[in-house]
């Protein structure tokens, strides 16, 4: 127990100092004034809702309702500067003088701006103008519009390729887990994933392991339809006040709120067609025969007879003849190719479909506003049981269950109710609540051999039986039936229909809710408090009923069931108080103090059963049952912070802050961690002396320095023993059975000095608005250094220690990069306008230090295989044995001896993408009646393993093109030989997979949509309002890449070691959608 490890002096000391500042920040109170007004769009004079009206230098603000009207109360009298901000419009300031207790009216007319960015962002201390921040914060802009107008169905659809510095590898399966990295990776042993908040509540974003190979994302339970805004806080310089665990960035999701005015009803309906257009590769069969026996066989290119590589017969002492293995062993006769996946007669690849029906209602008045929504999103993936299997089951009088016929499916039902109440002019209360039920059906589809894509992709290279071989077992190496006689229809090894009988389902039920209070006792003070919970109950279920599923093991058809349940419970609470003080006419000070607390708990129980009775499907029905469970473990963090901001003439903004954290996962000897922060933001173009060339409208320079951390695992600091049962034999010579006996074994020793990884980061950058605000440029450079990095320092196995790779805080890493974004309005006329957003980033990292290796006295290195940690090289640097080849005999084919694999390993670069680029285009046509959105994105600077070919070329039936087609490139032939045979030196075989480690750069036509405003004649007939649209969209349309595998964006196997790869899996499907958005 680690009671009392917090030193009592700390919290009161910090807060006391903060309170003194706060008190000092006070100024004379007097009767407060009110300003009302209206915000409209220039040109149309249409009211603008959701515009933020701020009183500069104070903590008060207001938001416009439907009518565009606002009321700002609690304003200190005197000269007041108002600023109005709204996404998509140029911000505007006005000054007004107001008497004590008086009122004034100020109206704003706003012009459209190119920058589609939120100008007010959420920070740890509350909402702030973007210009006040010294660090870059990415916002997605108007998420509602994106969701309505582009085919975005998941949070990863929304985030991908939108923000510089954010790398997102989407899950390739329906519901699959995306991998999100912000500004690359910095941790070798801990998570590199950002943390997520939804309406101020820490949100579990991990993945669910299906029990086979596919990870499903907890992020799938975020409904894009409910999101108002997404902000990405990128690194320690920005995330300091989020504390321990924020070093990898923070993603803040704000859900929609009601707004005052008449009640709005928004109906949405969408239909989807989902197509698997992945370029599955042809498989080949080189038909030949044995030179000695004449028997038909599959030739391998590396041992096929050529004029310069003959076969040779040797005779042993007993007169038995055989072929000399150093020479050719097969005479090639003909070549065939076949693509089972594309063969319409047999393939399980069929278009899927999906639908969405949603309703949201929002409205209210100045006192109470509400947002209520409900959506049902159904999707069936592009997998369907082959018709021959349906017929076979029918003939056996086995009803084909829907979960077999469509094993890939998802249903997400979500409900949200958000309430905002202004209980008094000084107190607002916001209640946010969301419930999601998400069911997934998961096909066994990649890693294991009981896997759809494995049996489909890795076929024999020919269809049916070649002429003349029907009576002799279908020729070559083909096994035409499964082990139990079920016909395979040219699939490999297992019948797809029986694989589809493996029923896998996950069920997530999740409630996320928070209550936020905002109290403004004075015009100079705002106090904000939030408490919330995120509860997720997760069930994963896998079932093969009696006699179902492929007979891949002796127990496979006895009936087996797995039922895993876990629960995540997060509690978040935070309070913050900000006080402002106009110390001088030209200087405003803001002091913030705050505290937050998170408690992340989870538990699980795993149960499984074997041998089910007919019809049995539960663990309780199984003859043999086993299980394990874990009581809740918790990760608790208590943080306190203080921040001082100075705004000088509302153009230079300086911030200094510090946060201290205590965490339940720290070691006994580690008390607390302190994270400091400073930043500056300067609107240089607002200076009077600044030259104002006509093309430059605004220039802002900014810089920030800050620190934050990543905590170790919940129990990593503790001495642990594991419990179980062991069968102990009776100590008698006649007994053959044992007795299950309770057992203990040491699991890990205590690590009293364990502390968080600490990252510090500085960033420098700036923004410029040019050409009458038609062009906006944004650039940031960052450098992030991580100290006390937790390294798994290998302990010699011969020490017999209970933990052979304990975590020790001895490492240091560094990451740096450039981020760039440009928004431009290239053309703007009534008939046609064209806006474009270009984002890009280039990311680098390296291991700086891993301590000294006691064995050599030199800097330590980690790993001896493909992924290594070596000072001076990138994290998870990739190493392979290289190889060379030469067609020495000039026969056009490579034989084994013509490929030489080096015994030494060589560095081969990064495995995760370094260069991220996206181009988003928007075209408005016909008086803005039609808008076309298009997005292309690029990832590159890395290589990944072409897992499909690496496997298909080197396991039976060796039917990939590299080993079969004589016309194929020698480069590919050499890759297969280097992998399968390698080079033998002194009896040791040296092989390499580097021939399949391929450049993974690609361009993808990610999304396109056409948004058509329904004409008045239609909206009047259905009594809808303006803004109702019909949208035609498509997603993942095409990929341009030289990558030789299935999909360079696959992230199967992505783990903490960042081992991105694709392996016998599929790529992203293509979506075609039509969506109707009706507004009432």
């Amino acid at each position: 127990m680690r009671l009392g490890r917090w030193r009592l002096t700390a919290a009161p000391g910090v807060l006391g100092a903060a309170l003194l500042m706060l008190a000092g920040g006070a100024r004379n109170a007097s009767a407060q004034a009110t300003i009302t007004g209206r915000v409209t769009a220039q040109g149309t004079n249409a009211p603008l809702a959701e515009a933020r009206v701020l009183v500069i230098g104070s903590t008060v603000s207001a938001t416009t309702g439907d009518s565009g009207k606002f009321v700002v109360r609690g304003i200190a009298p005197g000269e007041v500067q108002l600023q109005v901000l709204r996404v998509g419009y140029q911000s505007q300031k006005k000054t007004v003088t107001i008497a004590a207790g008086g009122s004034a009216t100020v109206d704003f007319t706003m012009s459209i701006a190119v920058a589609q960015l939120e100008e007010v962002v959420t920070t740890a201390t509350g909402q702030q103008r973007r210009v006040e921040l010294g660090n870059a914060v990415s916002t997605l802009g108007d998420v509602t519009k994106r969701v309505e107008e582009t085919p975005n169905h998941t949070i990863s659809d929304l985030l991908i390729a939108k923000s510089p510095g954010v790398t997102l590898l989407p899950g390739t399966e329906l519901g699959g887990a995306p991998t999100v990295r912000i500004r690359g990776v910095s941790s070798i042993s801990l998570s590199n994933a950002p943390i997520w908040y939804v309406d101020g509540v820490r949100y579990s974003a991990g993945s669910l392991n299906s029990g086979t190979d596919v990870n499903f994302s907890m992020l799938g339970s975020i409904n894009p339809e409910d999101i108002e805004d997404i902000e990405i806080v990128k690194g320690p310089s920005a995330a300091t006040l989020y504390g321990t665990n924020a070093a990898n960035g923070v993603i803040l999701i704000t859900t929609k709120k009601g707004r005052s005015g008449q009640t709005h009803w928004n109906w949405s309906a969408e239909g989807r067609n989902i197509q698997d257009r992945v370029p599955y590769q042809d498989m080949y069969a080189n038909f030949g025969h044995d030179p000695l026996s004449g028997k038909a066989k599959r030739c391998q290119l590396s041992s096929i007879v050529t004029p310069k590589f003959p076969f040779k017969i040797i005779t042993d002492a007993k007169g038995v003849q055989s072929l000399d293995p150093k020479f050719a062993d097969c005479i090639g006769d003909s070549l065939t190719s076949y693509n089972w996946m594309k063969d319409k007669d047999v393939t399980f690849v069929h278009p899927g479909k999906g639908s969405l029906f949603g309703l949201s209602i929002n409205g209210g008045n100045e006192q109470v506003r509400y947002f209520v929504s409900s959506d049902v999103d159904n999707e069936i993936g592009p997998i369907q049981m082959p018709s021959y299997d349906v017929q076979r089951f029918d003939s056996l009088q086995i009803p084909v269950r829907n979960e077999w016929f469509h094993p890939s499916a998802q249903q997400r039902s979500s409900f949200r109710g958000n309430l905002s109440a202004s209980l008094s002019p000084k107190f607002d209360l916001n209640v946010s609540s969301g419930f999601v039920k998400m069911d997934n059906r998961i096909p066994p589809e990649s890693d294991l051999i009981i896997a759809l894509y494995y049996v489909g992709m890795q076929n024999y290279g020919y269809k049916g039986c070649p002429a003349g071989t029907e009576k002799t077992g279908c020729g070559l190496d083909k096994i035409p039936t499964q082990a139990d006689g079920v016909p395979l229809h040219d699939a490999l090894q297992w019948d797809p229909g029986e694989i589809m009988q493996v029923t896998q389902q996950s069920d997530v039920q999740r409630f996320t809710g928070s209550i936020n209070g905002n109290w403004r006792p004075f015009s100079w003070m705002v106090n904000d408090g939030t408490v919330g919970v995120d509860f997720a109950a997760v069930d994963f279920f896998q079932l093969c009923r009696l006699t179902e599923c492929p007979p891949q093991s002796s127990t496979a058809q006895l009936g087996r069931v797995t039922d895993n349940q876990s629960k995540n419970r997060n509690l978040s609470a935070k309070v913050a108080s900000t006080s402002s003080w106009n110390a001088k006419a030209w200087m405003n000070l803001k002091t913030s103090v705050g505290a937050d607390y998170t408690n992340l708990e989870d538990d699980f129980s795993n149960t499984n059963g074997l041998t089910l009775p007919p019809g049995g499907s539960t663990v309780g029905a199984a003859a043999t049952r086993s299980g394990s469970n874990r009581q809740p473990t918790a990760q608790k963090t208590l943080g306190l912070y203080v921040q001082e901001q100075a705004a000088l003439r509302d153009r230079l903004f300086l911030t200094a802050a510090a946060r201290t954290d205590q965490n339940s996962a720290f070691g006994q000897n580690f008390q607390r961690v302190v994270y400091p922060k400073v930043s500056a933001s300067w609107i240089a173009s607002d200076e009077s002396w600044f030259p104002h060339p006509s093309y430059l409208n605004q220039l802002r320079l900014r810089g920030a320095y800050g620190a934050s951390g990543v905590q170790p695992g919940a129990t990593q600091a503790l001495a642990l023993f594991s419990a179980g049962t062991v069968s102990i034999p009776a100590r008698s010579s006649t007994a053959t059975g044992g007795t299950d006996t309770p057992a203990l074994t040491a699991n890990q020793p205590a690590s009293p000095n364990l502390k968080p990884e600490k990252s510090t980061e500085y960033e420098l950058g700036g923004e410029a608005q040019l050409l009458s605000n038609r062009l906006r440029l944004d650039y940031t450079f960052f450098r992030k250094s991580t100290h006390d990095a937790l390294i798994q320092v290998a302990v010699s196995a011969s020490s017999a220690a209970s933990q052979l790779s304990p975590l020790v805080n001895i490492g240091a890493t560094q990451g740096w990069g450039h981020e760039f974004q440009a928004n431009a309005q290239l053309m703007d006329s009534r008939r046609f306008s064209w806006d474009v957003t270009l984002t890009g980033s280039h990311l680098s990292n390296k291991v700086v230090d891993l301590g000294i290796d006691p064995n050599t006295g030199k800097p330590r290195t980690l790993g001896t295989g493909q992924a290594r940690q070596i000072p001076g090289l990138p994290l998870n640097s990739q190493w392979f044995r290289s190889y060379s080849y030469s067609d020495a005999n000039g026969d056009g084919l490579l034989q084994r001896a013509e490929v030489v694999v080096d015994t030494a390993f060589k560095y081969y670069g990064y495995i995760t993408p370094r260069d991220i680029i996206s181009v988003q285009n928007g075209f408005d046509l016909f008086g803005r009646k039609l808008r076309i959105n298009m997005m292309f994105d690029y990832k590159g600077g890395n290589s990944i393993l072409d897992g499909a070919n690496n496997f298909q070329c080197n396991t039976g039936p060796y039917a990939c093109r590299d080993t079969q087609d004589p016309s194929f490139s020698q480069d590919r032939q050499a890759a297969a030989i280097a992998k399968q045979f390698g080079t033998s030196v002194n009896g040791t075989s040296y092989k390499t997979t580097v021939g399949y480690f391929r450049n993974a750069q690609f361009w993808k036509f990610r999304e396109v949509s056409a948004v058509y405003q329904l004409p008045k004649v239609v909206t009047q007939r259905i009594r809808a309002q303006n803004g109702s649209t019909i949208v035609f969209g498509a997603r993942n349309l095409h990929t341009w890449s030289s990558f030789t595998g299935i999909d360079p964006e696959a992230n199967y196997g992505t783990s903490q070691a960042e081992t991105q790869q694709e392996f016998q899996t599929t790529g992203l499907p293509t979506y075609f959608t039509v969506r109707l958005n009706l507004k009432y």
């Binding site: 096994i479 090894q493 062991v726 069968s727 057992a743 001896t864």
Partner: protein, 466 residues
Amino acid sequence: MFSTMHRARWAAAVGAALVLPGCADFKNQLLQPQNPGIIDNSAVGSAAAAAALKVGAMGRIKVVYTSSETLWQEAGQVADEYQNADFQPDRNDVDQRTMATNSPYANYGSVTQARGYIRDALAAEYKYEPTKTTDIGELWMALGFIELSLGENFCNGIPLGNNTNGVVDYSSPSFKPLTNNEVFDAAIAHLDSALTSVGSASDSASVFVRRAALVLKARLLVDKGQYAAAAALVPTSAVATNWQYLFTTSTASSSDDNGIWTLNNSVSRVTVGDSVMAYQGKTFTIANAIPFFSLNDPRVPVITGASVKLVAEDGLTPLYLQQIWKNRDDAVALASGIDARMIEAEAKLNANDIAGMMTILNAARATPPKLGGVLQPAAMPPLATPATQDAATSLFFREKAFWQFSRGFRLSDLRRLVRQYKRTQDKVFPSGQHYKGGTYGSDVNFPVPDGELVNPQFHGCIDRNA
């Protein structure tokens, strides 16, 4: 001034609200690790805990044959008991005897780590249950068994280090790599501790443990070439032929299954070995390999996968399934009376008493003991007495291979044929063209993997000799 003070009081009130959570008790409650499922040091200070640690340690020595890719299974692949039927091409290296040092093989880490669990349990037993000499003796026996397993299967150059509560002092002499012979000596010393602890107690448990220690010690003496001394330890009077110390498995847990059954009979990742392998339309002859499948000896009954509608994991390799352990919970012998008989027979062989050897072998064939928990082989006709010492050696090791199939003997025996009987590895181990491409290499043991290089006293195997 007044208003400033007023505001300050307000601010102080708000601040106090913030400070409250910082009060020590409340804060400690907030941060207290709430991990009720964990077991920490406070739970292991009792006699009951010592007993549980002992059970845990005995469970960990099953690592030689339970769970995937075990020592006995991979050793059986290096030898001729099994052949690779795995769909992962990287796993051919074991079967092909071409193992690089940068990958761990044969569960090296877990096998050597088991020593630590045994030592933890011994320390607890001596502290809390010092009078339970049989239990203490059994733990010493287990330690000797694990060290025997390391010495028989891995290269020369095996450190037998230690730690104190996870802290490792690499300067300790214990981290010096030992030759196989030195490892055998260490194991013998621990088996002597077992025998000393058990003493001459006559209760059935003590007798049981003593027999196991005697058989293992005798096996180690054979490894050292001390055949007569070995045989003297295990006469029939001390260890009856039908005696067995069994590894039993928990019927309640699928993670405690018989690993031999799992890898061969269930998931079909290995196939019982033979001297002929048909693969992809071609027939390969494997030199030196005993045709376990073709012979279908009563001691190693084998069926084809087709008979139970199973195919090898790779879908291509012919699948042959051993039938000694037909069920997931069938027990396997750690030591047995038949082991003792083989030790006696080998002593006769080395004493040039071929007739004496044949007497022992044929007696066993006439009255076969039960193998494992279940298989009762039928009686077999006697073998003819070989004419030469060389033929007798071949016959002896062939008989031994059937009696002790898949129990971690065969690789060591093939090594001894090279080391003690002066045959060359290519005349003993599977050799020639490998059915999955390439030719067999020349490895005769497992390397201690490169991961061990963090021990500054370790610089790789001293040698890879038999």
